[in-house]
Amino acid sequence: MDRLFLAAFYILLSIAAFAFGKAVNRWVRHPAANAPTIAILVVIGVLLLSRQNYAAYMHHGGGVIAWLLGPATVALGIPLARQTKTLTKEAWPICAAVVAGAVSAAISAPLILRALGGSHILVLSMAPKAVTTPVAMQITARIGGVPALAAVFAIVGGAIVAVIAEPVLSKLRINDQRVFGLTAGVAGSGFGAAQALSRSPQAGAYAALAVGVNAIVTAILVPIFWSWNLF
């Protein structure tokens, strides 16, 4: 009974924290104040205040939510399937651009961190940071990094892209909605996609496409780079 009560409490806590995060995001309207980051900080705060550890949270309720991440990742096939026409029509530029973005992120992120003295575990967890969070966790687990760190790097990296995508592209004098959407989706996964969608539905569609294709490309590339001892 106690166990069930605790599980219900942790699940409700996560839901409440996420709802709170969404409310704050609607109020502040800035990608830095995004719902998952706020929710994670709230849950960590409650756990620390009630002197509970992470294992207890995962054992009671947290694990259920984490398990649902599997079907949620599979559901990413839906926006991808909606864009089949776009994908086949512009297959060559889209794939080339995604590979360019994926390669530059997967090489530069871990190498910069290593050059600035990051530990090996951190470097391995940083490699897939441009990819959508659950896939980043899976890729990291395959090469010996820490999924929790990869999740946080992916979330913070996505938020950074959501902030800088617009100024960077206007500096480059690129205002094609398709390019903006694809770029935001490749560099910033879902956060970039949300930003692109707020600009125009077309940018949002290209971003959704980019998130899916980038997940596949990076999942293939990162283990290859790792096997070359690049990180």
């Binding site: 996560s14 839901i15 996420f18 929710a39 994670i40 756990l47 992470y54 939510i65 984490a66 991440l69 599997g70 990742t73 599979v74 559901a75 990413l76 839906i78 926006p79 399937a81 512009e90 530029p93 651009a97 973005g101 390669v103 992120a105 530069s108 910069i112 600035l116 990051g118 951190l122 940083m126 940071k129 441009a130 969070t133 899976q138 395959r142 820490v146 999924p147 929790a148 999740a151 790097f153 992916a154 913070v156 990296g157 800088i164 960077v168 094609d176 390019v179 694809l182 910033g188 879902g190 996609a193 949300a194 539905p201 569609a205 971003a207 959704a208 899916g212 997940a215 596949i216 999942a219």
Partner: protein, 149 residues
Amino acid sequence: MRLCLSAFRRAGPLSMPPFVTTALRLAAGFVILLVMLWLGNFAAKFLPLPGPLVGMVLLFLFLNLHKGPAAQAVFACGEYFLKHYAFFFIPAGVGVMVYTHQLQSSLLGIVASLVLSSLLSLVATAVTMHLLIKRRPGAPAQKGATSHG
């Protein structure tokens, strides 16, 4: 057989209250997502790719081959998952509380890495796409994007 099916289809939704059909559709969609995940996890044993990602590709193929009621069920359930997508990685993110020491010890490197690699990736993607794409105003808008992360 076909008669039976069509009779069921005609009678089914009418004989049940709407919330039951909605619940059944969501449940059917969830089962299909789980089947894709399971197939993906199985295939991942022979592929250098994560299981859920293979599941995503399988769902993509499935939705391109099949446009009937099963696809509608997946759309109904999947929209719900995608709408609250970021919620499902809260537990993973909470896991950083175990690694605060590691994060603090190389905070500068982490921030620099995230900012610079994002910048580089943005420029590389944008320039490549910009150079390869034909410069014409885009096709009419389509919908579909995830909410977060």
